[in-house]
Symmetry: C2
Subunit: 244 residues, 2 copies
DNA sequence: CGCGCTGTTGAAACTTGTCAAAGTTTGTGG
DNA sequence: CCACAAACTTTGACAAGTTTCAACAGCGCG
C-alpha cells in the first residue's frame, strides 16, 4: 500500500491544538488559549464512507467541514444531468463554504474514499471569530483562497487545451501531496477518469488519451489509478508552452 | 442614451445609510446606529476612468471595493499572455476579495466605463464586523455567493457549448440589469466581443457568430453593443435543451 | 475626415466529442 | 477462493464544433 499515511499524521489526534494540519486550516497563529476555545467548538467528527455524501444540494447549511483524512469531490449538477466537478479536497482543506450565502448548500460533497471530517458549526465559528481576531482573519483567508483557486480553474477551463489541462491537474495534485508529506512523484488517484474529465471540462476518453500520450512521451507512468510523475519540468513545459 | 441611470440612483448619495444599493451590499439589515459606523468606515470614494485599473495583480491588498456606478471586469493573465476574464461587476457588487488570502491582489480589475467605487479598508471592516454581527454575516455571505457564482461559471466553461454559453451570459446580464431597475430586455454591452469570449472561454469570432445566429433565429436584436432580448423563453430553452 | 479598433463572415484546419468494441480491475456472492 | 458481473479504462474511426486565418465592413475617437 504505497499511499500509507505519513508518520506525522499516523497517531490519532483529538484536538485542533494537537492537529498537525493547522497550518492548512483555521488555527494557524492562534495562542494556546485561543486554540483551546477552537477545540471546544470543533468537538464533533464525522466519518463519511466512500461514495457517501457529506452534504447535498438543498441541505440546510449549518457547518463547514475540515477534511481530517480522506478525499472528497464537490460537484454541481444541471437539470439535464450534466455534472461539473468543482473541486477535489484533501486533508486539511475546508468544505461547505458554498452554503453560507443562502443558508442552503449549493453543491454536493462526496467522499471518494473512506474519510473523516471535523465539523465546525458555522454560527459558533462566527461568534468565536468575533472574539479571536486571528481566527477571523484566517477564515477570511481561507475563503479568499477558495476564490483565487476558482479563478485558476476558470483560466484552465477557458483557455487551455486538453493536455495542458491534464498537466496542470497533475502538477497541482503533486504539489498538494508534497505539502502533506507524500511523494511528489507517485500517488494514487482517488477519482475516475470521468471525474477528472468533468473537473477539467473534458470527456473521459480525452482524459484517457492524454494520459496515454504523456506515458508515450515518458512524462509519467500510468497504471490505472496509480500515477508516477517522471518529468515534472516536462509537464511544466506543456503548461507554459504556446499551443502553436 | 437609453441606459440612463434610473431614478432611484440619480441623486447623489453620500453614505451607506442613504445608499440605495444596500440590499446588494454589506449593509443589509443593519440598525441605523450600525449604519452610521459603517458610513464612517466607507468614507472614501474613488473614480476610475474607463480603461483604468482599479487594481492590478501584485498590488498590495488593503481594501475591498463596492461598485457605486459603472462597470468593471476582473481578469487573470497567464505568463504566455492568455487572458481569462473572471467576472463583470456592476453597481452594488463587491470587488477585491481575491486579495485577502495573500495580502496581494491576484487579479486585475479594470473599469469598462467611467466608474466610481466605495473604498472599504479591509482591516477596519474586520474590526467593525467583530462588533456588528450582522455586518460580519453579510460579508461572509458576499464571499460565499462569489464562490457559488464561480461554480456556476465553471459549469458553463466545463460543460456548455458556445450558444449555451452566450444564452446563459445574456440571461444573467438581463437578470442583473433588471435587479437594478433597468430594462430586462434592452441593454448596452460595456465589453467587447473579445472580452465576452474570454469570459465564456470562446474566441471572439465564435461569440460574434453566436450573436448572429441568435439574431437570425429572432431571439435577440443586435446592433453592435446594443442588445435587445426578444425571446427570453427561447434563450432559456437553449440552455436547458440537450445538445443533441 | 480618416485611421484604428471592433465586429462580421467565410473556408479550411484542428481539437475534442461521439460511438463502438474490447480489455482490465474490482467487488460480490457462491 | 473462484467466478462472474459491473464498473472503469483504453483505443480506433469518424463526426461535430470551435478555432484559425483572412478579408472586409462599420463605428467612433482624435
Amino acid at each position: 500500500m504505497p499511499q500509507a499515511i505519513p508518520v506525522s499524521l499516523a497517531s490519532i489526534k483529538v484536538a485542533c491544538s494537537q492537529c498537525s494540519l493547522r497550518e492548512l486550516c483555521l488555527s494557524e497563529g492562534l495562542s494556546n488559549e485561543d486554540l483551546q476555545k477552537l477545540d471546544e467548538l470543533v468537538g464533533a467528527r464525522r466519518k463519511v464512507r466512500r461514495g457517501q455524501n457529506l452534504y447535498r444540494v438543498g441541505d440546510n447549511f449549518e457547518a463547514i467541514y475540515a477534511v481530517r483524512t480522506g478525499f472528497f469531490k464537490t460537484d454541481v449538477i444541471m437539470e439535464d444531468g450534466r455534472e461539473q466537478v468543482t473541486g477535489f479536497q484533501m486533508t486539511g482543506e475546508i468544505l461547505g463554504m458554498d452554503g453560507i450565502g443562502t443558508e442552503i448548500h449549493n453543491c454536493n460533497a462526496v467522499a471518494l474514499e473512506d474519510s473523516e471530517v471535523c465539523i465546525i458549526p458555522f454560527a459558533q465559528l462566527e461568534t468565536l471569530s468575533r472574539e479571536i481576531t486571528t481566527l477571523q482573519h484566517n477564515f477570511h483567508k481561507v475563503m479568499s483562497r477558495e476564490i483565487v483557486r476558482d479563478h485558476g480553474l476558470m483560466m484552465l477551463l477557458g483557455t487551455m487545451r486538453a493536455e495542458e489541462r491534464l498537466a496542470a491537474f497533475l502538477l497541482n495534485l503533486s504539489q498538494r501531496f508534497t505539502a502533506r508529506g507524500y511523494s511528489p512523484a507517485e500517488f494514487h488517484l482517488r477519482m475516475t477518469r470521468e471525474e477528472i474529465g468533468s473537473y477539467l471540462g473534458l470527456k473521459l476518453e480525452t482524459v484517457s488519451r492524454a494520459f496515454s500520450r504523456f506515458q508515450e512521451e515518458g512524462l509519467i507512468g500510468v497504471q490505472q489509478k496509480h500515477i508516477r510523475i517522471l518529468d515534472i519540468p516536462g509537464l511544466k513545459k506543456i503548461l507554459s508552452h504556446q499551443q502553436s
